[in-house]
């Protein structure tokens, strides 16, 4: 089976051999879909994990035990269109360009396919137009 996760690493974990454990201890294949460092200097990885279902679950449990915040990619960011005022405060903060302005009608557009669920837009939006759905 394959499952996608977003892993948030606090700075203290950046030098630990977390990724190699996934292969050695849990016999998983992983594919890094996206990797970046947030403004809070937290490392973020979007991973697809492949292997036995119980191994995936055990690996996730182990990651959480080490202090990695693990979010299943079944949680998504959603824009509540009627709450957006098209101000653009979110746009420069989105690390992957999933939020941008339509140059013609000046509306703010959210592209969920580009989103990596980092959540910075939720904090940036003054009118709570961005929300996390699970």
């Amino acid at each position: 089976m394959e499952k996608k996760y977003v892993l948030h690493f606090p700075r203290t974990l950046v030098d630990k051999p977390i990724m190699s454990d996934l292969v050695k201890k849990y016999n998983l294949d992983f594919n890094i879909l996206k990797a970046y460092v947030t403004p809070e200097e937290e490392g973020t990885l979007v991973l697809a994990l492949q292997g036995e279902g119980e191994n995936v679950d055990a690996a996730v449990k182990n990651l959480r035990g080490m202090g990695v915040r693990v979010q299943s990619l079944s949680s998504d960011i959603r824009m509540i269109r009627e709450l957006c005022t098209d101000c653009t405060a979110c746009i420069p903060l989105c690390p992957v360009g999933a939020l941008y302005q339509d140059k013609k009608d000046l509306s703010v557009i959210f592209d969920p396919d580009k989103c990596i669920t980092c959540g910075i837009c939720i904090r940036a939006c003054p009118t709570k137009a961005m929300e996390l759905t699970i």
Binding site: P39, P92, A124, P126
Partner: protein, 399 residues
């Protein structure tokens, strides 16, 4: 060739007034003769839609039976404290008011989910809000407590009165430090990761009448979807700042105090705001009509984004410590492009003020005037100009 407001109003009533928005006049002036445009165009409409904490609403709640004297006690609307320093059932709820049990920034950055600005939005939207009053009781106002639910239609008066709105130009905020900061100008990433501005630029009311020649006490305006009035010059009014050759201030300068009936307003243009790590605010929709009384006024209304400059300020040090230092100036065409260069670094930009909604407001005001439902007022007196020496002072003993 001078026009008067009375002549323009006559044309509005006859359905003959020529109205354009401040965005449309910028394009027209690039192609056509200014003198001809000044003769033909009667009114230029402007608009802005940005957060402004210095906003709030006076309410008269009506009397309970038996009577209660909230003045000197405590008043809460949806748990948000309102001012209890007026008569028995008069109060003022300010945009930045925060519930007493809100964690604020104890876990930085606080999210400030609900505050005075949201109460005002909920009232404008016709939603029910809880009202709680604690009082000490008097012979004529014996009751000690009230807990009820009210809507905007249930109160007697609901007067939006904003001591400071409609800033004429504003800072561009950046962060030169090494950690993210959370400000009223939004989230600012370290080492100039982004630059945030907050003005509609070429659509913004006071940038199109830079010396406030037509805007003064009593000017009728679009306010929150209803009609309102300019009630005074705004707090922190500072007309003496540096100006471009067109007369446009290159920093925050004039401001306006505004008044209007909340019962006429529309929650599309009166919105509560939560600024992470900072607090709550109110986003207020404002549109001001500028009568084209002469060629000089038309020239000002036609000033484009390219000629309106804003100062870039470091909010990690220079802003909090009032150093007065600016890192440079950028015009609104550059800012609206989404990318600017500051100190030789390319920086993405964001705006706290919605240009799209500003455009919608200027269009709506244009429609009201064209339809004959909005007439202009003559201002009763003008506000201090740059020659007056009026200035914005720091706090005495605050150093």
């Amino acid at each position: 060739m001078e026009k008067t407001i009375a002549e323009i109003n006559k044309k509005i009533k006859e359905g003959k007034a020529v109205v354009v928005t401040a965005e449309e006049i910028v394009d027209l002036a690039k192609k056509q003769d200014i003198k001809k445009l000044a003769r033909e165009i009667d009114i230029v409409t402007t608009g802005t839609f940005g957060p402004m904490c210095s906003s709030g609403v006076f309410l008269n709640l009506g009397h309970s039976n038996p009577r209660i004297k909230a003045g000197g006690g405590k008043i809460y609307l949806n748990g948000v404290p309102a001012y209890a320093g007026l008569a028995a059932v008069d109060t003022y709820i300010g945009a930045a008011a925060t519930p007493e049990n809100d964690p604020r920034n104890s876990e930085h950055p606080g999210s400030f989910k609900y505050g005075g600005g949201h109460v005002i939005e909920d009232l404008a939207a016709g939603k029910e809000v809880t009202l709680e009053i604690n009082a000490y009781g008097t012979d004529c106002y014996p009751r000690r407590g009230v807990s009820t639910r009210i809507r905007l239609k249930d109160v007697n008066e609901a007067i939006l009165f904003n001591p400071r709105n409609c800033y004429q130009n504003y800072n561009v905020a950046v962060n030169l430090s090494k950690k993210t900061i959370y400000t009223y100008m939004g989230i600012l990433r370290p080492e100039m990761g982004n630059a945030n501005y907050c003005s509609a630029g070429q659509l913004s009311p006071l940038l199109k009448d830079p010396y406030l020649k037509t805007i003064g006490f009593g000017t009728r305006i679009f306010l929150g979807g209803g009609t309102g009035y300019v009630a005074w010059w705004g707090t922190q009014y500072n007309p003496g700042v540096k100006r471009t050759e067109d007369g446009v201030p290159t920093a925050g300068s004039a401001t306006l105090a505004l008044i209007g009936d909340l019962k006429q307003m529309n929650s599309r243009y009166i919105k509560g705001a939560s600024l992470t790590g900072y607090g709550t605010s109110l986003i207020v929709g404002i549109g001001i009509p500028i009568p084209v009384l002469n060629e000089e006024i038309l020239r000002w209304t036609a000033i484009p984004d390219e000629k309106i400059y804003a100062p870039v300020v470091d909010y990690s040090n220079d802003y909090p410590n009032c150093t007065g230092k600016i890192l440079g100036e950028l015009n609104y065409a550059q800012l609206k492009s989404g990318r600017v260069e500051i100190l030789k670094k390319e920086v993405p930009t964001g705006s706290l003020s919605s240009y799209r909604t500003a455009r919608e407001i200027a269009d709506t005001l244009k429609k009201w005037i064209t339809e004959g439902s909005f007439l202009l007022t003559e201002s009763i007196f003008s506000f201090p100009g740059p020659e007056s020496g009026y200035r914005f002072k720091p706090m005495k003993g605050g150093r």
